[in-house]
């Protein structure tokens, strides 16, 4: 154990190392650590904020969804109403058209019947004249006995 100049050398070396450490090592590392600490804290706060925002957004989305559903059901109800209206209208139209057609057909039938009756009547008149002329064995002048014939036709 001999103390010599190394003592001073070591003291000076030590103080230089401490000075260097204090100047160039400690501050940047501490600054980085502080900054990271802040970053992490900021990140956590941001995450919390994000979570809150997400919650709000979820709530808003649920509200929107609910609204949309309500609207949709309303639209469906309206559409159904409209559809039944259209169906009713169509039914009414169809019924009217059918009635119209039926009426037209009936009048046509009536006309046909009348026409047939007329024809029949004329034919019967012809037959009657022929029959009568046969009975009388003489020719009946159609033009001179027209009024009798007409009376006959009207009676038939």
């Amino acid at each position: 154990m001999n103390i010599n100049l190394t003592l001073f050398g070591q003291s000076i070396t030590f103080l230089i190392f401490v000075w260097f450490c204090m100047k160039f090592v400690w501050p940047p590392i501490m600054a980085a650590l502080k900054e990271r600490e802040k970053k992490i804290a900021d990140g956590l706060a941001a995450a919390e904020r994000g979570e809150h925002e997400q919650e709000l957004a979820e709530k808003a989305a649920a509200e929107k969804l609910h609204e949309a559903k309500e609207q949709a059901s309303e639209i469906i109800v309206q559409a159904q109403k409209r559809a039944s209206e259209i169906v009713d209208e169509a039914k009414t139209d169809a019924r009217a058209e059918g009635e119209r057609l039926v009426t037209a057909a009936q009048s046509e039938i009536e006309q046909e019947v009348n026409r047939a009756k007329e024809t029949l009547r004329q034919q019967v008149a012809g037959i009657a004249i022929a029959g009568a002329s046969k009975v009388l064995e003489r020719e009946i002048d159609e033009s001179s006995h027209g009024d009798i014939l007409d009376k006959l036709v009207a009676e038939i």
Binding site: L5, F17, P28, L33, R36, K39
Partner: protein, 295 residues
């Protein structure tokens, strides 16, 4: 065992002698060849091995920490940065735990002490013969020196010069801050006006020298205990490594036994190495804390 030509006593002595450069009695400077020449040099000499290893390890420490500090940023840290930050945070929490005043010096000081002392202590775990043998070989081959005269002590903290050098620097800081914070009067008062106090002026006057004696001793004890604790622990550890190393030359059985002993002691020594570095740092913080506060 470095050489068959050495007796055990010589072997131990060889291991415990520093590589010394100094002034001979005739006024010339040179390397000492043996203990007598070292004695002849006295105070005007330098332990080259201690100085080299301490500066080497200090530069090693600062190089890597500075490298990490330059690249330090708040993003995801790399491996080196992570390691450095781990140590820095550990030191920072230690300092915050026992130092309450504001002083930008204390934390870097503690970091330097802890890592530097740890690295110097750690040299103890390098097998005791490796580096001295290498030094002896280099000395013999390149400088033509007798390997028995090439001394190489690789653990700077087993040299009291290193530990006292640090302890006195710390003591200097303690005195500096005591006077800076409390003023010369306050500091002198702290040394003389306690622990014994009296309302009677005359009695108080009598107490002052007694108080001064007590306080001065406790003040002086700080650096001395700081230095001797580290030196004693490391010196003893080194000594045991040397004694274990001597077993290797005894017989094969003793050698194998010695191998286990060395392994066990080295593992245990890892604890001592770290613990002593931590104690030196913590006491430094505590002394500086005391310098910053009246008590």
């Amino acid at each position: 065992m470095s050489s068959e030509a050495l007796t055990s006593a010589q072997y131990i002595k060889h291991h415990l002698t520093n590589w010394t450069y100094g002034r001979f009695d005739d006024g010339n400077w040179g390397f000492a060849k043996d203990a007598e020449e070292i004695k002849e040099m006295g105070f005007m000499s330098i332990n080259v091995d201690t100085t080299f290893w301490s500066i080497f390890l200090g530069v090693f420490f600062l190089y890597f920490f500075h490298k990490a500090a330059k690249k330090a940023e708040a993003g995801v840290p790399g491996k080196l940065q992570n390691f450095v930050e781990w140590i820095v945070e550990f030191i920072d929490s230690s300092v915050k735990g026992s130092f309450s005043a504001k002083n930008a010096l204390v934390a870097p000081l503690s970091l330097t002490i802890f890592v530097w002392v740890f690295l110097m202590n750690f040299m103890d775990l390098v097998p005791v013969d490796w580096l001295p043998l290498l030094a002896g070989w280099v000395g013999e081959t390149f400088f033509g020196a007798d390997p028995h005269h090439v001394f190489f002590k690789v653990v700077p903290t087993t040299d009291p010069n290193a530990t006292f050098g640090m302890a006195f620097s710390v003591f200097f800081l303690v005195l500096f801050y005591s006077i800076k914070i409390k003023g010369i009067g306050g500091f002198a008062g702290e040394l003389t006006l306690q622990p014994f106090q009296s309302k009677n002026k005359l009695v108080m006057l009598l107490f002052i020298p007694i108080n001064f004696l007590l306080e001065f001793v406790s003040l002086i004890a700080k650096p001395i205990s700081l230095a001797l604790r580290l030196y004693g622990n490391m010196y003893a550890g080194e000594m045991i490594f040397i004694l274990i190393a001597m077993m290797f030359s005894a017989s094969i059985g003793m050698g194998i036994f010695g191998g286990f002993l060395q392994l066990g002691w080295a593992i245990f020594h890892i604890l001592i190495v770290t613990l002593q570095a931590f104690i030196f740092m913590t006491l430094t913080i505590v002394y500086l804390e005391m310098a910053h506060h009246e008590h």
